[in-house]
Amino acid sequence: MTAIILAAQGLEYRYPGDIAALDGLDLRVARGRKLALLGANGCGKTTLLLHLNGTLRPFRGQVLLDGQAVGYGGKALSAWRNRVGLVLQEPDDQLFSATVYQDVSFGPLNQGLAEDAVRARVSAALETLRITQLAERPTHALSFGQKKRVAIAGVLAMRPEVLILDEPTAGLDPRGVAHLLAALEQLRLAGTTLVFSTHDVDLAYGWADDVAILGQGRVLCQGEALATLADPGRLQAAHLRTPTLLALATALGVADGPGSAGPPRSQAALIARLQGRVGDGS
């Protein structure tokens, strides 16, 4: 049983106009793992993420960090946000500086680090996302994918223990997605806990360790990615579909691999398994 670093208990939140965005939501984020929050448009994913770093305050319920309920005073919030970083979906909502370098330096400076330390953090964050060559570019001359990476670097430079990303792959081309996932994988290997929201079941299936399915302002179910996504009923209830790879593997009869290997989680794995079957002559 891995330690729970961040948790939500019975969150309730309403936007003005009486729409219940969160309605008794429970969530557990295990330390050092990749958690996908999966849900259709308008199911409350972003609202939930805004609760996880204290931007929104629930009407009822609480958020726990290392098992302790967090406070909403200035000091408590600032300590909270030092540990839990949030990257918004729209990078233009986050980038305010004229140049990439300036923007990435903003977070670490707010953490009260000395100038040298800030410069080191900025370089390292740009390096991780492979955008060092963009450092001196004006923010307004970047492509969408570049802006997205700069926005992530700006939060990364603060070295959060938990990195929360709202729809990190939305609007990126396939190469952009691959680069982003590679950078995030590097972070996870370094021990960062990752939480990301998405409506892309294939992304959740291929990449997440754990999945939480959101619907009607609640977490309908949460668990290990494979087990959670293997149940079509649950997915349909949340207006989602079965991951393509899983559906194909099941239809082709290769969902259960040799030994105790589970279903293939990448295109390459599925192809390898199919070729293996042809090779066996079975």
Binding site: N82, Q94, S97, A98, R119
Partner: protein, 250 residues
């Protein structure tokens, strides 16, 4: 404006310390205001044009385009400076040699000063100058607002352009009447969007520990002594040249 900004970010001198360019432009401005204008004006135009085009590698067309608009105003207003109006004994309009000299002097002096500003605008992004403003004592809130406006202008222009294109694609500008209506709708929408965006930007900044101060670091750029010395030398040469030439002309 976008063209000026693009050159400012991409020219050859972009990675030099902005103070070096500020010295050249500021020094030139000082010379334009103090030296005999008949010679200093043209010399400064040549120097700034040369620095922009040959030094920083900005196309000559861009430099001339930036100079053209204010120069046009100057040329239009110069004739009026040459004319003198005498009301002591009825209304007398006269063009005097002294008036013509004055008009020429003012025009050349202004052109010289303008060339310095054109050089600075085309080689140095506003965002590079703003942190410097803070160092010379402009209050932090003013500097922060200037930086935010600089950033948001581009987002705003992008949105406005996209909105206008979307309206045009649906025949929103096919008649004058519709154009007026579409433009009104666009402005109303942009205002609302700007408010929403401001709120979301606040969330984004708060997530990164914003508590009321927008502090950022810029990459370190060493001041080059040799370039500073060269700049001073060139300015001195212009000063001497213009004084000597002026004596020669007189």
């Amino acid at each position: 404006m976008r063209a000026i900004d693009r050159h400012a970010w991409t020219n050859r001198w972009r990675r030099h310390h902005p103070g070096e360019r500020l010295l050249l432009a500021g020094g030139g401005l000082l010379l334009a205001l103090t030296l005999p204008p008949l010679t200093a004006g043209p010399l400064l135009c040549l120097l700034m044009g040369g620095a922009t085009v040959l030094g920083a590698g900005v196309p000559a067309r861009a430099f001339l385009a930036v100079m053209a608009l204010p120069a046009g105003f100057l040329l239009v207003s110069a004739p009026f400076l040459a004319v003198s109006l005498d009301l002591s004994d009825g209304v007398h309009l006269a063009v005097s040699p002294a008036g013509a000299w004055l008009a020429l002097a003012v025009t050349l002096r202004s052109l010289g000063a303008l060339s310095c500003l054109a050089f600075l605008a085309l080689t140095t992004p506003v965002a590079e100058l703003v942190p410097w403003l803070r160092r010379v004592g402009v209050p932090a809130p003013v500097v922060e607002i200037a930086l935010l406006i600089y950033r948001l202008i581009f987002i705003f222009m992008e949105r406005a352009l996209a909105g206008q294109q979307a309206q045009a694609a649906r025949q929103g500008y096919s008649t004058r009447r519709r154009s007026l209506r579409s433009l009104g709708l666009l402005i109303a929408t942009l205002f609302q969007r700007a408010m929403e965006r401001a709120r979301r930007l606040e969330v984004g900044l708060a997530a990164r520990g914003y508590v009321g101060e927008l502090r950022v670091l810029t990459p370190e750029r060493p001041l080059s002594r040799s370039r500073l010395a060269a700049t001073l030398g060139v300015l001195l040469a212009v000063a001497l040249g213009s004084v000597l030439l002026d004596r020669g002309l007189a």
